[in-house]
């Protein structure tokens, strides 16, 4: 009994590490075999992509492009949080504000940020401002809508308790409405960060001369360097994963953990 009880968690962690590694190994082997079988000299084999990443690192482009992309995401996304959270709280709380603005939001929301690229270039030129604007647009809607829904779906008992203790106005917002809405807002923020990272790549393909999106487009245009194209894709995936893990860590704080179901 004791042996089983102690060995089980160990077995699980081993499995949780071994299975994804196995999947990756099978995929990489399949990839290699497929490229060899097809006889393609354009599409890279896995080790050529690794060499591509090393080459980028040696030319100093790896850090430069990752930083350039993260810089744009940081600005666009931070602006979206600063605008989206208060806007969503207000829309969720004041019915007239909701009635006035919600239809507009629902019309703007389904327009892909990609569709805004020509407009962004017209307004902001091919500076950093254009992609930052696009990232802002892409992430502000999920954040606003989640904050709005969080306030609207808030458990009424918290509101009643707060009013019972005489809370009104700004203290009511700060001490009860915001903390009650925070777990759902954080979920919206996580979705928005994912979208922001998707959009930065698209924006960089058109509007600017640096970043991982630019790398992909540039590598294809300048000499069909598909090893660097795939290297760019791999880097985008890895950075995206790290960003998501970072936001997930926020969900473990005591002030929001109650909102994610029972442990």
């Amino acid at each position: 009994m004791t042996a089983i009880a102690t060995s089980r968690p160990v077995g699980r962690t081993t499995l949780a590490l071994a299975l994804p590694l196995l999947t990756a190994a099978v995929l990489i082997a399949g990839w290699h075999a497929a490229v060899v079988a097809s006889g393609s000299d354009l599409f890279p084999k896995p080790y050529e992509v690794v060499n591509g990443i090393v080459e980028l690192a040696e030319r100093g482009l790896l850090v430069k492009y990752v930083v350039a992309s993260l810089f744009r995401v940081t600005w666009g996304f931070s602006l979206a949080v600063l605008v989206g959270v208060p806007l969503g709280l207000v829309l969720g709380w004041f019915r007239p504000a909701y009635l006035a603005l919600n239809p507009l939001i629902q019309v703007l929301r389904p327009i892909s940020p990609i569709a805004w690229i020509p407009v962004a270039i017209l307004w902001f030129g091919i500076e950093d401002t254009a992609p930052i604007f696009l990232i802002f647009l892409a992430s502000v809607f999920p954040i606003t809508v989640s904050a709005m829904a969080a306030v609207q779906n808030m458990q009424q008992v918290y509101l009643r308790a707060a009013k019972n203790f005489g809370l009104t106005g700004l203290p009511l917002f700060a001490r009860v409405i915001l903390p009650a809405a925070l777990p759902q807002i954080l979920t919206g923020i996580r979705i928005a960060l994912g979208v922001a990272w998707l959009v930065v790549v698209a924006a960089e393909m058109i509007a600017v001369q640096s970043g991982l999106g630019y790398l992909i487009n540039d590598a294809r245009n300048a000499g069909k360097r598909y090893d660097l194209v795939v290297a760019g894709m791999v880097l985008i995936g890895l950075v995206g994963l790290v960003l998501d893990l970072l936001v997930r860590r926020l969900e473990r704080f005591d002030s929001v953990r109650w909102g994610y179901g029972q442990r």
């Binding site: 458990q155 008992v157 918290y158 009643r160 308790a161 009013k163 019972n164 203790f165 005489g166 203290p171 001490r175 009860v176 903390p179 009650a180 925070l182 005591d254 002030s255 929001v256 953990r257 109650w258 909102g259 029972q262 442990r263």
Partner: protein
Amino acid sequence: MSFPGKESQPVHVLERVGFQVRAGEFVCIVGPSGCGKSTLLNVLGGFLKETKGDVRVEGARVTGPDPGRIFVFQENGVFPWLTVEQNVGFGLWRKSARERAERVRHYVEMVGLAGFERSYPRELSGGMRQRVEIARALAADARMLFMDEPFGALDFLTRLKMRADLVRIWQAEKKTILFVTHDIEEAVQLADRVLVMTKRPATIQAEVAIDLPRPRDLDSPGYLAARDRIFELMGMDAHGSFVAAT
């Protein structure tokens, strides 16, 4: 009083409800489920607006929720993002930090949660969460507690313990308590006086004074007589059979 119902047909919930409660008295309100007991408590608490009539508590018209009359909710209104001590101190923001800490310590101890000051509600049992809510109301120095089936979601043994503790706290604090329940036994165990309500549109059908010493002996003839009297008023006997002639 009535509420707008479906197809704009108003639903009469309460009619001609009038009763008096003395300061420091423990009054239970019982009645069939859906009769409007909670509605009555919500109107008194200022959470619902009466359509006709006049609600007066302590001589003044009730216009909204009041920190002097704190509600304890069945569904538990403890804030899950605050610790036990932050919850208990919630209504004390006007007090100095020292007085706040003092009161929080006193009431956390009174409800038996010493040692759990830094715990979050999700780490506590249902009964402990209700204790936090009671401590929060007491710490804010409310004159009246309005309790809406506060132990309804708890298991049987926890409920018994909570009742005993509530009586002990009430005796120490001398608060006026209005306690709504559908549980006749609970009402007789707790109250100085039990108000029995009728079906909708509800009115107060009878008042039963429970003049028994506390802690109450649940087998004493006085206890059983009071319990059976209320069962009878509600058209049932204590074994669940309907009584024909009431």
